[in-house]
Amino acid sequence: MPLFAVIAVTIATLVVGAFGLRVARTTSDFFVASRRVGPFLNASAISGEYLSAASFLGVAGLVLLRGVDMLWYPIGWTAGYLLLLVFVAAPLRRSGAYTLPDFAEFRVESHAARRVASWLVCLIGALYLVPQFQGAGLTLAAITGAPTWVGATVVAFVVLVNVVAGGMRSITLVQAFQYWIKLCALLVPAVILWTVWHHDGSATRGLHATDWVEPLQGPHATYLTYSLIAATFLGTMGLPHVVVRFYTNHDGRSARRTTLVVLAMLSLFYLLPTAYGALGRVYASDLIASGRTDSVVLTLPDRMLGGTGAALVTALLGAGAFAAFLSTSSGLVVSVSGVLSQDVLGRRFDGVTGFRIGGFLAAGGALLLAEISQGLPVAHAVELAFAVAASTFCPLLLLGIWWRGLTARGAIAGMVSGGLLSGATVLAVMVGVTAGGWAGALLAQPALLTVPLSFTCMVGVSLADRGRVPVHVGRAMVRLHLPETVDVDRGTYQPSS
């Protein structure tokens, strides 16, 4: 039964993708769906793309394991869109750039800055993509007993077929569809399980442990919480697969409205994982000892229902989890292959061919990395991807949009320093460096240190380099901030694709 549900989601994804394929013909379709996507559809697609395995399975597991402090993850992943809304959404759409490297090139007028941004997109993309593939392998293994490489390969294959065949146009429909799958797949079982719990006399065993129910327990808890807030609140705007979605809005105003709908959709979704975490505490607390808290969402139906009902509910949850792997992976492969085709292959192939080859490289590379890193603690990589994004692209976007003084050297200095330091902590965690006390806290949540460092470097170097403020900064500001209805000269910049 669960296997059937996973296959159904996979086939549905391919069919919806094929529907989008009929309309995708030009390079512009491939990259940004020709900007004909309305706010509601676009918001569904952004939410569908954004809600990864970490949201669908991971948050409930974290809540089960560590309690109330973990609720800051979904809060940060939602509030990140509020900051994106007020600082970035409309100006970024108005810039007319396709990707973050495009934005860097447009704003600081430097190929070197573009190249640094391209490498960072690949780094963040890999940090995000590898855990998706591994999670898919583990989920399929848990449901059917298949070897882990099967799930990863299936996800890579489906994503590749959709991306290569239809580009962004097909992906927009697929991801909008997958938000609603994910919401229903988490909501319906939650209601059923909640009812069962109620009939069970609303048991509260396991819910009273002080270190679980009370906030800020454990060493350095206040630092860890604020650093987590910094990484998630500021990192969301710098995720390449999120930002690429804003180019499919019609104009700056609709970019804002899309973000508003995204906030509502995420708020609705993130009410649910907490319930699974709390129910897990009552019915599946043995998962804590066995270290398999990530599987709590998929385990609960068996523990609470039994029989056919359990099989059906597990099937629904498995389908939702697979939708999460597929949609997030698709978005990441689209954005990474966009960057690969423009900055690595662009001169050798025409737009669409380059995009397809980029897709092969991105999906294949991530699949290889997922196989190599088998057994490493990569689940933490998604959290660290937020820290890297907050320490690199967040300062680039904020200063680039709101400060005329940003120079190419300043932007590069900030991205490189923030990227190196946060990247070093990622590497340290991956190879298994552990430290106690403050060093351990810094390794686990580096953002509170690396984000201010990156901002300081960007501002400091720009000020020292004052003579080299980009020539067209005045025109760039006009383009970023003036509503489209005002008939003014917005410069001649065109994304290089």
Binding site: V86, I229, T485
Partner: protein, 146 residues
């Protein structure tokens, strides 16, 4: 379009005619009564921005400042409410307070934060669109002869 930015700066928005640059002995001064004249007058504000004159930059900066100030309000509001929660949890025993059987921190972080974020976002979008509408009014304001 103005032939030079200086001409525009001298008489912003008066529908300066290219003819005024020529050393003509007599210049007829009229009120722009026709539609064509009015549309030229409207363009001249945008022309200040196009030519990136001091006045044009002031226009752009006024919009940027208004939007940045609004974004600043949102950040301060967020910091003083959601951002202060960990500090509140540190100093006050809020976990002992139960609402509907749920400890207050769980209710705040698990549920109430989300509608609050939405309220802030809706308020922001309305204010931001208002700022832009005011800017469009400023730039495209009709020239009144009075």
């Amino acid at each position: 379009m103005c032939p030079t930015s200086a001409a525009c700066c001298g008489a912003p928005g008066t529908g300066a005619d290219p003819v005024t640059q020529q050393p003509a002995p007599r210049v007829r001064i009229t009120s722009p009564r026709t539609l064509a004249a009015r549309s030229r007058a409207r363009r001249s504000h945008a022309a200040e921005i196009d030519a990136l004159t001091r006045l044009g930059e002031v226009y752009v900066q006024s919009l940027m400042r208004a939007q940045l100030r609004l974004a600043g309000y949102v950040v301060v509001l967020l910091a003083l409410t959601v951002g202060l929660l960990p500090v509140l949890f540190r100093v006050l025993p809020l976990a002992d307070v139960h609402v509907l059987g749920v400890p207050l921190p769980w209710l705040l972080l698990g549920v109430l934060v989300y509608p609050w974020l939405l309220v802030i976002a809706v308020w922001y979008v309305r204010r931001a669109e208002h700022n832009e509408a005011a800017f469009v009014d400023l730039v495209e304001r009709r020239e009144d002869p009075s």
